[in-house]
């Protein structure tokens, strides 16, 4: 049972990440591969505040969102100068740079040694130390994020985003300042990823830079590509599938020697097969 709760918590965290990235990639059509950096900033701010000042988790979560917001504003501004493949490549670069900062600013982050002993959240004297309660908290935050995403994508703001995706030239000809729209959604998305980071830090109680590498960003991207771009439900389904997949494969019974690498082969083949046969993902509304 604990195992299923654990997996469910991870799914909630990655569903939040998927939802947040879908705003940028699916709805606005900007191929960002730097979500793990914002996830990491949220996690590190929370971890540092909780372990060094004993601050309340929810306050730390909000401060984390604020700091992530400021960082993402700067990064989003630079990225907004790029298009298509170059946008992806630039966002790659920012992920590597932020990761290097986590790794090398050792007086703050303890570098590769990581930050252990991060406490679980507590509210009005109640501590979410049982995993069931932590799952409840994650799901509440997931639902909150989900409805914010649904509100955004259904609003007139969301419609502008979609038209930026379809034809940026046309929409700017109508007098929309597309730069501000792109920046706004980038920052909102990063702040949501920061929520996931705070949850992650407090759940695992330990973080180190290895959780926020480039391949983590690629994994989050794979979630929304599998689930379906520009579909909020798709992001949640994608997270569920990609977190469950390796777990199911654990029970398939590959020989010990090659089990781990076989999982990687299956993961790779699934990505290729999806692109070949269903590039809009399981229930997506937009093809890359």
């Amino acid at each position: 049972m604990e195992y299923i709760i654990h997996i469910s918590i991870l799914i909630s965290i990655y569903a939040i990440l998927g939802l947040s990235l879908n705003l940028v990639v699916g709805f606005t059509g900007l191929l960002s591969v730097t979500q793990a950096a914002f996830y990491g900033i949220g996690a590190y701010v929370t971890a540092i505040l909780l372990t060094s000042t004993g601050m309340n988790f929810f306050l730390a979560l909000i401060i984390g969102m604020a700091i992530t917001g400021v960082c993402s504003l700067a990064i989003g501004f630079v990225l907004s100068k790029f298009k298509d493949d170059y946008y992806a490549l630039g966002s790659f670069g920012f992920n590597v740079i932020i990761y290097s900062i986590f790794l090398n600013w050792q007086s703050l982050t303890r570098g590769p040694l990581g930050i252990p002993g991060i406490p679980r959240p507590s509210l009005f004297g109640f501590t979410f130390s049982e995993n069931v309660w932590f799952l409840a908290l994650s799901i509440v935050l997931l639902i909150l994020v989900y409805f914010i995403c649904r509100f955004i994508t259904g609003s007139s703001f969301g419609r502008v985003l979609k038209s930026i995706r379809e034809d940026e030239g046309a929409i700017s000809a109508f007098g929309y300042r597309t730069l501000w729209y792109k920046l706004a959604i980038f920052v909102i998305s990063a702040m949501m990823a920061s929520i996931a980071g705070s949850l992650f830090a407090s759940y695992i109680t330990f973080i180190d830079p290895s959780s926020f590498v480039l391949s983590e960003s690629i994994f989050i991207l794979a979630i929304i590509i599998l689930g379906g771009l520009a579909n909020n439900k798709g992001a949640v389904i994608g997270a569920a599938c990609l977190i469950l997949l390796p777990e199911i494969l654990r029970f398939v019974g590959f020989p010990d020697d090659i089990a781990a690498q076989m999982r990687q082969v299956v993961y790779g083949v699934i990505l290729v097969a999806l692109m070949l046969y269903r590039p809009q993902g399981l229930i997506g509304e937009y093809r890359l």
Partner: protein
Amino acid sequence: MNNKKTIWITVGVIVVVAVIAIVAFSSGSNKQPAVKQTVKIGLALPLTGGAAFLGESSRNAAQMALSDAGQTKYNYDLVIEDDAFNPAKTATVVTKFVNIDKVSAIITFGSGTSNAAAPINENAKIPRFGLASDPTSAIGDYNFIHWTPPFKEGQLSASEMVKKGYKNVAIVDTNHSGTLAVTNSVKEALKNTSVKIASYDLTNVGDKDFRTIITKIKALKPDIVLVEMFSPEIEIFAKQMKELGVKIPMTSVETFEWSNDPSLFEGMWFISDAKITPSFAEKYQAKFNDGPKPGATYVYDLVTLFINNQEKADHALSPTEMRDSIIKTGYENSPIFGNIQIDKDGFFITNASVKMIKNGKAVLIPE
């Protein structure tokens, strides 16, 4: 729209099947036939990603320990899962060991991964033995560390440098929890001694080009270079030192011993984790046609420890009984380290020693 429905159903079916499979598996594993009882040991090792070469070596060592145990009263099942050296994945794997496999003891590989696992083990009351240089994961009653403490190695390394009359040392370090903990303790121990740190360079895991760092060091002319790198980086470093014509001697803490090609460090002294019996390395080499990598000895040692304690008992030990039995006896006659004490905080006390590479082999320097 119909299409969409099919997908929803597919996803639903996958999730349901997954949950049923997991639940069925977890309840099924409780009902073992009572013929010969099975004791499960969980190992969370990095089997994919950049650290896979370490995990593979530890997996080999665990299997070797099992086959070396020969005929046993109980069946032993090594449950080996990949955590890719990623703390979050370790948490998943350890949760699986605890809840699905119902293992009696767990081994985790690395400092960060051990930190992520520690609270889970404490909650579930299942003993976990981490191969970790950073001491932070030895929390509570169920978390142990089997790794020579870095501060001991650091002190010994520093006192050797003082004894040998070195004036200045250049340090080349790796951005990794294992090596950082060691070099930090060397730097700490060198404070207030006559040995000055001429330069300190940090490299990242996976770097292959150290020529500029070596060029820098060459110009500084230190008496000795302390190289804290894993294999293969350390061999590449030694090779590039040679290519650039730098003849400054090197030293290390542990890492020479793990090299695939110790002859690169012929005649150089270094600090080793305790008195590893040379037969282990030879046996491993013969069996897998490759030298053991860092961690392999500890894994071999731990699996043997579990088996020894279980064999002495008259029933399959519960995790808590396994822990108590290990704490009570300590570790007598460890095949690798001789007698080991386990202190009250959960550290296996193994002493550092000074060794030298002679004829391509690590040998102990007599006091």
